[in-house]
């Protein structure tokens, strides 16, 4: 860990906030993708169609 001196809070908070925001976006995107795919698969199976 590098010595961040008196600016440690600013630097670490920047990295933490960025990680939080981007991880949130990625998690939301993955969840929406899985939920939509599952719902579409169910309807297609019911109607006898294949994914386009």
């Amino acid at each position: 860990m590098p010595d961040l001196g008196k600016y440690a809070f600013a630097v670490l908070a920047s990295y933490a906030a960025t990680a939080l925001l981007i991880a949130g976006l990625v998690a939301l995107s993955l969840w929406q993708s899985a939920r939509t795919k599952r719902a579409l698969d169910e309807v297609e199976a019911r109607q006898g169609k294949t994914d386009g």
Partner: protein
């Protein structure tokens, strides 16, 4: 072979399924290398001290916040002119990503500004135009959610995107238009005189590549979700009629 083939949802789904694993791998590689290099293996700046490490997050996210809007603008224009549904859905898919990058740029900028400028926020031309861009992102996403008919939503959000482009451009060039702001000029430029030192510049370029790839990866993933959601809606509507 034409780029318009990818306006066909089936072709887009096939191609993006092949591209996505590579895009994910490259994104992770660039972000890990760039951020580890920047955080652990670059020296402190003689003026900014260790806060210079924030540059590896702030500059790429600010660039991508503006570039995401430009991509949405191009996709919106394609929708308006050629009525390709995939382009409208790609613009819709890009908005939450652009909003996240804008928030990252605003938060990291405030965290850097407090020790360097002595304030978290100033009504500086670039900061203010960035805040307005953030509000445009929120408005754009809200407009998509508010309208039931997807074609009408695509039409209206495309117009909003055209209007918001003024602020995306202002965010980029505000420091050149007005000199009275706190925000400094560009950290990266084709003019080598204006660039940051090489010791910061090279890892910064790797981080920028990582953020660009992250954007591409997420746009592909989210556009695939939007295409599936649209197909799901159509199948459910058909089921209700039958």
């Amino acid at each position: 072979m034409s780029i318009w083939e990818y306006a066909n949802p089936k072709k887009f789904m096939q191609t993006s399924a092949w591209v996505l694993p590579w895009a994910v791998g490259l994104t992770v590689a660039c972000l890990v290398v760039g951020l580890v290099w920047g955080f652990f293996f670059t020296p402190d700046d003689y003026k900014q001290g260790s806060t210079v490490k924030i540059i590896y997050l702030h500059v790429p996210s600010a660039m991508m916040a503006i570039n995401a809007w430009v991509m949405m603008l191009v996709a919106s224009l394609i929708w308006i002119v050629r009525r390709h549904h995939v382009s409208a859905l790609a613009a819709k898919a890009a908005a939450p990503i652009g909003l996240t990058f804008t928030l990252v740029a605003l938060v990291t900028g405030a965290l850097w500004g407090q020790p360097m400028w002595g304030t978290w926020w100033a009504w500086d031309p670039r900061l203010t135009s960035f805040l307005i861009l953030c509000l445009f992102y929120l408005g754009y996403i809200a407009l998509w959610e508010a309208i039931e008919n997807p074609d009408t939503a695509a039409d209206l959000t495309s117009i909003l995107c055209l209007v918001g482009s003024v602020f995306a451009l202002l965010s980029r060039y505000a420091v050149n238009f007005w000199n009275q702001g706190l925000h400094q000029g560009a950290s990266l430029s084709l003019d080598r005189e204006e660039n940051v030192s090489n010791v910061f510049w090279v890892p910064l370029l790797v981080c920028i590549a990582g953020f660009v790839l992250l954007f591409v990866t997420l746009v592909l993933m989210r556009t695939r979700t939007e295409i599936r959601a649209r197909r799901l809606k159509a199948l459910l509507a058909r089921e209700r009629v039958a």
